[in-house]
Subunit: 386 residues, 2 copies
Amino acid sequence: MSAEFAFEVTARDGRARCGRLQLAHGVVQTPAFMPVGTRGAIKGLTMAQLNDLGAEIMLANAYHLHVRPGDEAIARAGGLHAFTGWKKPILTDSGGFQVFSLAGRRTVSDDGVVFQSHLDGRSLALSAESVTDIQMRLGSDVAMVFDECTAWPVTRDEAAAAMQRTLRWARRARERFGVIARGEAPEIPRATPGQAQFGIVQGSTFQDLRDESVGGTVAVGFEAYAIGGLSVGEPPELMYEVAGQTAAQLPEMAPRYLMGAGMPNDLVEAVARGIDLFDCVLPTRNARNGQLFTQDGPISIKNARYADDQGPPDPECGCPTCRTHSRAYLRHLFMSGEMAGSTLNTVHNLHFYLDTMRRIRKAIEFGILADFTRAFLDRYSRGARH
Amino acid sequence: MSAEFAFEVTARDGRARCGRLQLAHGVVQTPAFMPVGTRGAIKGLTMAQLNDLGAEIMLANAYHLHVRPGDEAIARAGGLHAFTGWKKPILTDSGGFQVFSLAGRRTVSDDGVVFQSHLDGRSLALSAESVTDIQMRLGSDVAMVFDECTAWPVTRDEAAAAMQRTLRWARRARERFGVIARGEAPEIPRATPGQAQFGIVQGSTFQDLRDESVGGTVAVGFEAYAIGGLSVGEPPELMYEVAGQTAAQLPEMAPRYLMGAGMPNDLVEAVARGIDLFDCVLPTRNARNGQLFTQDGPISIKNARYADDQGPPDPECGCPTCRTHSRAYLRHLFMSGEMAGSTLNTVHNLHFYLDTMRRIRKAIEFGILADFTRAFLDRYSRGARH
């Protein structure tokens, strides 16, 4: 299966929209949350469990997979889909964020980045072109360009320089992508001929830099556009404002992806501002730390008050964990360090995120997103009743 | 659901037999392997995954659950089945083995054992009676008596003393069990009124002590009998010999449970000697260490030779792991420390054990167990072809 990339807006409500995103390995209904499987696996879940949750797309990370087991090994397996057993769409992040947050000593130039592997310290080099090649070998449905991601806060000069470099890299990445897509680089195996490539807008929280980045990135021309460099420590209100203003500049007919966000309230806030795609490690990471998301805010399952609580984690939730297990049992598993606890918590949290997106899509279709958003945020922010 | 305990032999082949074991929460086809869920969870699996594998009974440990979360907390949840969400039969080991292998400084007398918790060092006391009470509160389908388990090798005097003490404890455990079962101890909640109680034969590898233990234990009278104190370091041949001679002394019409065994070849060897029930941590523990059982012997998935091996772990296996994933992917998960690797390996190994038992039962029904055993052992002992 390798369909042509397409995106169709199927419903609108204010600046929010529902869409049908056709990728090489299937259709993704947007707004969508993409569970994070950095190394080709969702922490705590099998692919069968992820599929049972109704996820339509998974995220993996080109940098991590390049380091181990290697994109060439994955290409020999027939690409990420054959390697992982996940049949639906996969988006690979380029690793820009990881190189600038995880890696050891690094030297950045227009050529690219030379840095130390976070695993074993060996020297690695990534460039706009090599990251394009890596993702072609991985055969994801969506490849992200290699970008320079800044922390927050950052000076205007630093943000401008990183944004400009990201723009220069975007042109080279798109050029390289075209060369391979046209079959002019036969040495690069293409497991997914219909791969799409998304550009990334940078500029930190400086709106004029964001505008310049949008203009330059759209001028290069990608299948879709991501907003990078947010959800890196800035206040939520500032993130919503920058994401909203940036989304408003992006082409109407392309999906918009807010990278790395966020909390459940971030999802509803950003959808209302025109965002279509999300990824975040919170539902999976916090599950392993014993935090369960509910409509009434998160609860910490390790709390002693749950030791004799025979009710489900979330009385309103229809996920396999809530249908089968009590808070008392989940607390016991957490306190005992049983892996099943991490798995069951992850099932619940991902269900909560995916179900929230389903409810958001319904609200847009019915034209009641403003009411939904208000009710969701009001209830969520009042905190856990438990 | 709380059926009456019953055991019916449905087929025989030599000293081996197939049986239908009716327990309070359902029927177990024997010979059966019982996956080990020490703390009320199979390490790496959810109950749904265990159920999908076709397991008909799970083992849990009274000592571990007494220490955490406490049998009284589990009783308040309605017993182990309600607490864990596992609907089928559960056998609880008494914890005798754990007290004598895990616990810190201990004092053993006829009264019972005073010892330090393996978790936090606090002083705990267990006796024939209290362990009976604990398992009544847990509401397992089968409660094991509290026994004194010796290591191997052990002197004849030590083995005899432990065996005699186990026998005195067996009388008291059965007495206490009867008191509660007749409703004469209303302070002990009974989540599973149809609970059965199994006696345990000790005597190490001294056959005359084993014979004496069988006589005494059968004289007390239990629903079924276990052979304890084996699979504790003695050579396999000696284990088979003692298990076989002991099984031959036990009543024909009661199930026989060889505790703690074993390797896949132990299963077929012991079934041929009249054993009906098994439990062992090997399939689950070794899965987490990257060892996968196959008909051609175990393979170690971390081996570099599998880095580019796109074949399934076991080409003849129909488990979800082998139907979906390659050795290369499982190796990647192991090397990356991804939890999904432990889960997928555990699914495979438990499938292998449960499937081996299904094949054994078929071989008994068809009266070809000797041929099956020879072929199985020959192939398994030739080692992994991979």
